[in-house]
């Protein structure tokens, strides 16, 4: 049996195709990005080594500040909307008195399976200042808050982040709902017998026990905020002006519009480092609370 299962030829045959394509398409490009970030390179001609000067230029690039700020706002909108509201919905939906649970769950999830292009186009139409649903609705309700949603530099980043938050709410909701459901019912019963109200019991029992779920949801929200791109590209092309730039939008612009590949690689390295840093910090924070 041992000889049977350590057939070297078979192992190589099973392993190599996946390993090869994964190494060539994922690992090698990651290393390339880091390496190329130290070069002055237009993607075609020979690259010239210029040490850390890409990174030094980056520190003085006003787009970096804009991008970091937007990434932060984006992440914040996702976290508050999806995790905050998602928690309320998940707790309410887990209540045994609720009817139509299947219908609710399914309809929350439908936007997740739509193409991001469709969702962006749909919201472009909804945000339209004269004919869009949002301004008309405010008009109908006599709320004097008409906006040029996508052309105002202050409002547009939040409006765009909301589109992403809306689309992927269903995803975070199903994670949170699965988290609530995984907690044994006796815990809740015990808490209510001890005189807790249902709401108190959720705050003291359910939510602390869902630590792992929250950790993951937060990592998803923060990293997708930092890396946001498609919504900006489709809805406002990074504008008005450059006010809706994000790190990925910077990479896209420097690499594919200005052929400044070395510099774009440096931005990629910053993006990856920030994503990993955020993941580590979230992990550490959650683990410390445990002790």
């Amino acid at each position: 049996m041992n000889r049977y299962l350590s057939n070297k030829k078979a192992i190589a045959l099973f392993l190599l195709p996946a390993l090869l394509i994964y190494s060539v398409v994922i690992i090698y490009p990651v290393l390339q990005t880091v390496y190329r970030s130290f070069f002055n390179w237009d993607g075609l001609s020979t690259a010239t080594w210029n040490g850390i000067s890409n990174y030094r230029d980056l520190l003085e690039d006003p787009l970096l500040i804009t991008s970091l700020r937007n990434g932060l706002i984006f992440a914040l909108v996702l976290a508050v909307f999806q995790i905050g509201l998602g928690t309320v919905l998940a707790l309410a939906c887990a209540d045994p008195r609720i009817k139509g649970r299947k219908l609710l769950k399914t309809s929350y999830f439908i936007p997740v399976v739509l193409s991001v292009t469709v969702v962006c186009q749909l919201w472009l139409a909804m945000y339209d200042p004269t004919n869009g649903l949002i301004n008309r609705l405010f008009n109908l309700l006599h709320i004097p808050y008409q906006q040029n949603w996508l052309t105002s530099p202050t409002v547009s980043i939040i409006a765009i982040a909301f589109v992403n938050a809306w689309q992927f709410m269903g995803y975070q909701f199903s994670l949170l709902y699965a988290g609530v459901k995984s907690i044994p019912e006796q815990y809740m019963e015990a808490a209510t017998i001890d005189g807790c109200s249902k709401w108190m019991a959720h705050r003291k029992v359910t939510i602390p026990l869902m630590k792992e779920t929250y950790k993951f949801c937060l990592i998803v929200a923060i990293t997708s905020g930092i890396g946001a791109f498609v919504q900006m590209l489709i809805m406002t092309s990074g504008g008005p002006g450059t006010s809706n730039y994000t790190l990925t939008y910077m990479i896209y612009r420097y690499a594919f519009m200005e052929s400044n590949y070395g510099y774009a690689c440096a931005v990629s390295v910053v993006l990856v480092s920030l994503s990993l840093l955020a993941t580590v910090i979230i992990n550490k924070t959650f683990d410390r609370n445990e002790a």
């Binding site: 099973f14 994964y22 219908l103 193409s115 469709v118």
Partner: protein
């Protein structure tokens, strides 16, 4: 009193139900209206009579069938390749006995934590250097590589739980390792294959960023990419735009409604693995 509280709990759920679904209802309903009805006479309500002509115009005037076919070819070939490669890889890692399998498994896991943006630039150059630009290969190869880490982890988890007796009896019966893999292991992990298949098909079908960078030829565009084109073309004809978007969305929504359990399972399993 009890009734009132039940109603109070229900309220946020149904409010969000409207927020989640109404934009889509609005999209479908304006796909059946003309501009006059959308803007002036009836902006919120259901269409008074169905203007199917928006759909026939959208279908015949633009490349929708082409985009559909491209998306279908790219998504199904990548999904199929992901499944075959990931099954083989996971089998070698989970069931066979050799020295470095734990390190190889970790090496594959790294890919799940890499933001796609970091490989964007070298990948574009790689695709160009291999002369894959504007071919199906430009998307299939990256999609396969990107799908592998997640799929391998799902299959690995499944295969680990298979009892060793199954293999032993196959070995006694004289089946060689390849036959055992195909006739014993693969059938046992069918539920995992279904999960991975649906999950990967959905994400390949909707992938936008890489397709946007790697494909410029009109004839090779996938659906999410092709839809961008309508933004300019249809800016004055909202009904037509709505029809295009509805046609593009329906297949995925229908697939989801049929397989909602599996789709949500795949998502939650993925989070358990990553977290």
């Amino acid at each position: 009193m009890k009734k009132l509280r039940a109603v109070l709990i229900q309220t946020p759920l149904w409010i969000y139900f409207v927020i989640s679904v109404y934009p889509l209802v609005w999209m479908i309903s304006y796909s059946l209206k003309n501009n006059d009805e959308i803007f002036v006479t009836n902006p919120f309500g259901f269409p008074t009579h169905f203007r199917i002509e928006n759909y026939t115009a959208a279908w015949s005037q633009f490349n929708i069938p082409r985009y559909f076919m491209n998306s279908f070819i790219v998504s199904s070939i990548s999904t199929l390749l992901i499944i075959v490669l990931a099954l083989m890889f996971s089998f070698a890692i989970a069931r066979m006995r050799w020295k470095f399998r734990e390190s190889v498994r970790l090496y594959m896991t790294i890919g799940m934590f890499m933001p796609l943006q970091v490989i964007m630039i070298p990948l574009a150059i790689l695709v160009r250097d291999f002369h894959l630009t504007n071919t199906y290969g430009a998307l299939i190869v990256p999609y396969v590589a990107i799908g592998l880490p997640f799929s391998c982890l799902i299959f690995y988890g499944f295969m680990k739980s298979i009892p060793g007796e199954l293999e032993e009896s196959a070995c006694m019966d004289g089946a060689n390792i390849y036959r055992m893999f195909i006739q014993i292991i693969v059938p046992v992990v069918t539920p995992a294959i279904a999960t991975v298949a649906i999950f990967q098909f959905l994400s390949n079908w909707n992938e936008f960023m890489l397709a946007y960078i790697l494909i410029s030829d009109e004839a090779m565009k996938t659906l999410p990419l092709g839809l961008l084109f309508f933004q300019g073309q249809y800016s004055t004809d909202w009904g037509g735009m709505g029809a295009v978007m509805t046609i593009a969305s329906l297949p995925m929504v229908i697939i989801y409604l049929f397989f909602s359990e599996q789709v949500e399972n795949a998502m939650t399993v993925g989070s358990a693995v990553k977290g």
